[in-house]
Amino acid sequence: MRFSSHSLAESGIGSNTRSRLGLIILGLAFWLIPDAARADGLDSGDTAWMLTSTALVLFMTIPGLSLFYCGLVRSKNVLSVLMQCFALTSMMTLIWILWGYSLAFDQTGMEAGVVNLHSFVGGFDKALLHGVGIDSLTGTVPETVFVTFQMTFFIITPALIAGAFAERMKFSAMLLFMALWATIVYAPICHMAWSGDGAFFWDKGVLDFAGGTVVHINAGIAALVTAILIGKRRGYPETVIPPHNLVLTVIGACMLWVGWFGFNAGSALAANGAAGMAMLVTQVATASAALAWMVVEWVKHGKPSVLGIVTGAVAGLVAITPASGSVGPLGAIVIGLASGCLCFWGATTIKRKLGYDDSLDAFGVHGIGGIVGALLTGVFAAESLGGMGLADGMTIGSQLMAQIVGVAFTIVYCGVLSFIILKVVDGLVGLRVAEDEEDRGLDISLHNEQGYYSEV
């Protein structure tokens, strides 16, 4: 998303003389020419790609992530996971329209280099999508498309967290937690990273092209806090809790891989060279991470597994996300290999050592992968390491420092607020289903249905 700074600047938040001059010329031109010709600022190629990307990212959640997750739970909970993803898709859509987009992207009161309240969160000027019409533009694409594209990120982030508390959380508590979390945690972090000059991360030069910090670290940390607070599933880890259908999981992982081209290449907000490079490095990092996980598992457990290779692929997709606008193919290989190995360690060794039950490894994959990707972005963005180059005045050291600030701030902010929100929700409705409901499975006990109906 960093590359969008130019297009955002032209649309009204100029930071340097050149774009201010451009703004004046554009303004004059708009004033002088008739309405019909004002479509000039809109690029139909960019718009076509952004429409496509938006559909691809929505496809990542429904059905991609839904299938990936639902295959990993026991058959008595398959519907509960699908239901969570589907309900979140619907609820986040409305929250985004009502106030989410405004809190994330409203630029009222922002000034380059000045830290004030609006460096951290947007105002309510765009609540209910005030001012977003058929003619409003974000860069070279209609703002309606930008709103919907960003909405799909707002949808997938809470859905990722759902992996941590699968098979035991109350549906009502889940909805309440996510509505609060999306408003209080996601929207501000998104604002800090992507809303333009004056935003906290943006001004510090934190590189997060497609959401390593905003989406993955954010979701991963919230997942870890939730897994710890809600407690282990009954019987974990003594009893066998195997995935009930890895075929669904593999299909979901494949959809995630394909959909991720919309996530990363779409984050260029244009059909240009940056989008092309983002697509290429996404493919390379994902393949590298899939192979890394496969090999590590092969060595450690004697056999390569399908669940292993697809989980590795997701780890690679996560890790390349912040880097996909900044690194080249060689950086992508290193980021992929590192995330494949480190996420394996996170989802197996760390999880078992610390004893929390992150059911579907939302922290192990998205938290760890996001942190690995965000930090290595600072290294491999350097031109000398095949990257697209650092901003003027930045060195690998200072860029890495900026990345550390972004990561650390997100971990602390998200961790503390997730904890508080969960405590409030626990007090209001209780986080966890009753023991007998958990034993019968959430499909029957929460939804009065079963995924695999038997005549007997």
Partner: protein, 112 residues
Amino acid sequence: MKLLKCVVRPNALEKVKEALSALGVMGMTVSEVKGYGRQKGHKEVYRGAEYNIDFIPKLEIEIVVGEEIAERAIDAVKEAANTGNIGDGKIFVVPVDEVIRIRTGEMGDSAI
């Protein structure tokens, strides 16, 4: 009449069925079952979590035969399902009091 409950390896089904057909056994009921005996289970690994799975998939073939071919049927299953390795399964022989064909009400050998 005898009920033979034959617990065999899943891949033995075709051979057992052919051997029984050759004896004139006209029907059977097959169920997918899981169990353990002397054969050890196997290991499954999901994201580093190793599970020892004791229950091994088998097929249970149920047939009812008249006294006169019971011995030959048992021999046929024994031969068809035998690989010589642990885990080939077992045959339980149970006396049957009566057989009734629901459609016609026939009883005894002619209902088998």
